[in-house]
Symmetry: C2
Subunit: 329 residues, 2 copies
C-alpha cells in the first residue's frame, strides 16, 4: 500500500498529537516536521524523521501529500494557511470563529491556484461539534441547540491569566454548570446566558510578594474572558501546580432538543459528547483523519478550500467503501 505522506508545520501540542496519531494509522507516514526555528534546535518524537526550516518547504512540494498546519490561529494561520495552500493539500484547526468566512475565502484562492484541497477549521469545536450542530438542526428544524464545553483546560483563558501582573503560572478550567446541562438533558429548552452555562475555575501560582487580592480582582474583572462568568480563583503552590495541573483534558457536549408532530407533541433529544484525556492528541487524531480526506478528494480531482460540511464521510476512513458499507452502515 502506498502511504499518504504527511508533513507537519509547527511543533506545539497539537503537532505532537498529530505525530502520535500517525503512528497508529498504518496508511500514513510522517515525512518531515517544518519549523520557523533552527531545525537543529528542535527534538521531535519520531526518530529518523527530518526537521526542516520553513524556508525550504517548497522543496517538499512533490514529496508531501498533505501538510497539517499546527501553528497558531491568532496570527500564524492567516499567513500560513494562505501560503501553504499554494503548494500543498492542507488541513488546519483555525478556530477564530468571527474570521472563518474571510479565512475560507483567502485559502480558497490559494488552493484553486495550486489545484489542491485545503480543509479548514478541523478538530472537535470547530469540527465534530459543528457536524452535530448541523445535522441535528437539519433533522429537527423545530428545536433548540446547546453546546457546553468542559470540564477542560482553555488555552486562551490560561494565557490570559498568565498575562496578569504577579502571576507566575496559571491555568483555567471551563466547567459546564450541572444544573443547566441537566435541564437540557431532560429535554427543556431554557434561554441560557453565558453565566448560566459555564463557570471558570483558575489555579494560580503567584510571584513572590505579589498582591493576591489584586490578582484575583484583575482576573475576575477581565472583560470578555472572565467578567461575564462566575469565576473562582485558587492560589496554589508551584509543586501542586506541577503535580496536578500539567495535563490537558477537555470535552463537552452538543444537545439538540426538538419536536415533531402536528401539535409538536413528540420530543426528541439528540446528544453528542466527548470526554478527552488529552485535547491536543484527540485534535491531532481528527486532523489526521481529515488529512486522509484532503488527499483522497484531491486525487479525485477536487480542489479549493473546504469545511467539515463539504467532506463526504467515507473519505475519513482508510478502509474500502465496500467494507464500510458492510460493517459500519
Amino acid at each position: 500500500m502506498e502511504k499518504i505522506r504527511i508533513g507537519i508545520a509547527g511543533y506545539g501540542n497539537i503537532a505532537r498529537g498529530v505525530e502520535t496519531a500517525i503512528k497508529t494509522s498504518p496508511d500514513t507516514e510522517l515525512v518531515a516536521v517544518f519549523t520557523r526555528r533552527k531545525p537543529e534546535d528542535l527534538m521531535i518524537n519520531s526518530p529518523g524523521v527530518k526537521v526542516v526550516n520553513f524556508s525550504q518547504v517548497e522543496e517538499y512540494k512533490d514529496t508531501v501529500d498533505v501538510m497539517i498546519l499546527c501553528t497558531g490561529s491568532a496570527k500564524d494561520l492567516p499567513v500560513h494557511g494562505v501560503e501553504f495552500a499554494k503548494l500543498f493539500n492542507t488541513v488546519d484547526s483555525y478556530d477564530n470563529h468571527a474570521q472563518i468566512p474571510q479565512y475560507l475565502r483567502r485559502v480558497n484562492e490559494s488552493a484553486l491556484s495550486s489545484g489542491k484541497v485545503s480543509i479548514i477549521s478541523i478538530g472537535w469545536d470547530p469540527g465534530l461539534f459543528s457536524i452535530m450542530r448541523m445535522i441535528s438542526e437539519a433533522v429537527l428544524p423545530e428545536g433548540s441547540s446547546y453546546t457546553f464545553w468542559g470540564r477542560g483546560v482553555s488555552q486562551g483563558h490560561s494565557d490570559a491569566i498568565r498575562r496578569v501582573k504577579g502571576v507566575k503560572y496559571g491555568i483555567q478550567y471551563t466547567i459546564p454548570l450541572e444544573k443547566a446541562v441537566e435541564a437540557v438533558r431532560r429535554g427543556e429548552t431554557p434561554n441560557l446566558s453565558a453565566r448560566d452555562k459555564h463557570m471558570r475555575e483558575c489555579y494560580v501560582v503567584c510571584e513572590e510578594g505579589a498582591d493576591k487580592s489584586k490578582i484575583e480582582s484583575d482576573i475576575k474583572n477581565m472583560p470578555d474572558y472572565f467578567a461575564p462568568y462566575d469565576t473562582k480563583v485558587n492560589f496554589i503552590s508551584e509543586e501542586e501546580f506541577k503535580e496536578n495541573h500539567s495535563k490537558m483534558p477537555h470535552g463537552g457536549l452538543v444537545i439538540r432538543n426538538g419536536t415533531t408532530g402536528e401539535e409538536k407533541q413528540n420530543k426528541h433529544i439528540m446528544e453528542f459528547s466527548l470526554k478527552l484525556d488529552s485535547n491536543p492528541e484527540f485534535t491531532g487524531s481528527v486532523l489526521l483523519a481529515y488529512a486522509r480526506a484532503a488527499y483522497k478528494m484531491n486525487l479525485e480531482g477536487m480542489m479549493g478550500a473546504k469545511t467539515i460540511f463539504d467532506v463526504p464521510l467515507f473519505y475519513l476512513s482508510p478502509r474500502y467503501r465496500e467494507d464500510l458499507v458492510k460493517e459500519l452502515l
Copy 2:
C-alpha cells in the same frame, strides 16, 4: 423560493412521519402520496394533496423532485428501490443489513440509467448511528465501538410475538442493560454478548382461553429473536395494552472508547445518543433531510446510488453554505 417537490411511496408509520416533517420544512412541499391500494380508500393527513396509484407513477416523473420510499425493507424495497430509481431521485430506509451491498449495487444501476441520485438506508440506524460509528473509528483507530438500542419498540420483534399462537396483541421493548452501558460509559472495553447488552420485554394480550405458559415458552425460545436474550413476558389486559402501549418511542447510543499516546495512556470517550418519543416521526425527519441532499446533489450533476457516507453534510440543510459556515461551524 422554489420548493423541493416530494412524493411519498407507501403510507405506513414512516410515511406519516415524512408527511409531518414536510409541514415544518418550508423549502419542501408534498406533491402526492403513492399507494398500491385504491387511492379512494386512503385518507392522508395533508388536505388537498393527491393520492395516486402506483400504476400512474410515471406521469409524475417531471413533477416530483424526490420520491421518499416508505414501503417495507423485507419484500417491498428490493423491488421498489430498484424500480423508482429508474424515474426519480429517491431516498429510502432499507435496513436489511446483510443485503445492503447487493441492494446498493442494484439501485445504483437504476439510478445511473436515469441519471438520478438514490440515497439508501437512511434513518437513525442504519443512518445517524452509522455516521458516528464511521467517524469515531476513523478518528480513534485504537478502540472499541458499542451500539445499544432502546428503550424502544422493535417492530420486527413485535411482529414475531403476534405470530405466536394464542396472542391477540403484542409489543416488544428492547432495553439496553444499565450495567453494560455504565461500564462502557466509564471507558471500559468489555466483550459483550447479545445477552449482556440488551434484554427484551414483551407485553402480550392473550386470546380467550389461550395457554399462557405455552405462549411464554414459545416466545422465550424463539430462535434469533428471543432465545439469545433474557426475555420477560408480561400478560396484560386489552385495556392496559391500548392505554399504555400504543406509542412508538425508541432511541439508543453509540459509544467509542479509544486511546492515543505513545503508550496508549490517554483515553477518549465519544458518545452519541438519541431519545425519541416517536421513532417513525424522527426517521421521517431524517429521510426528509436526505431527500433535500439527493435533490441538491443531482442538481449539481451527481448520479447513482449513495449511502450516508457519500453525502457532504451541508446538503442536508436548507440554509446557505455561507450562513452555515458563519453560524454552525
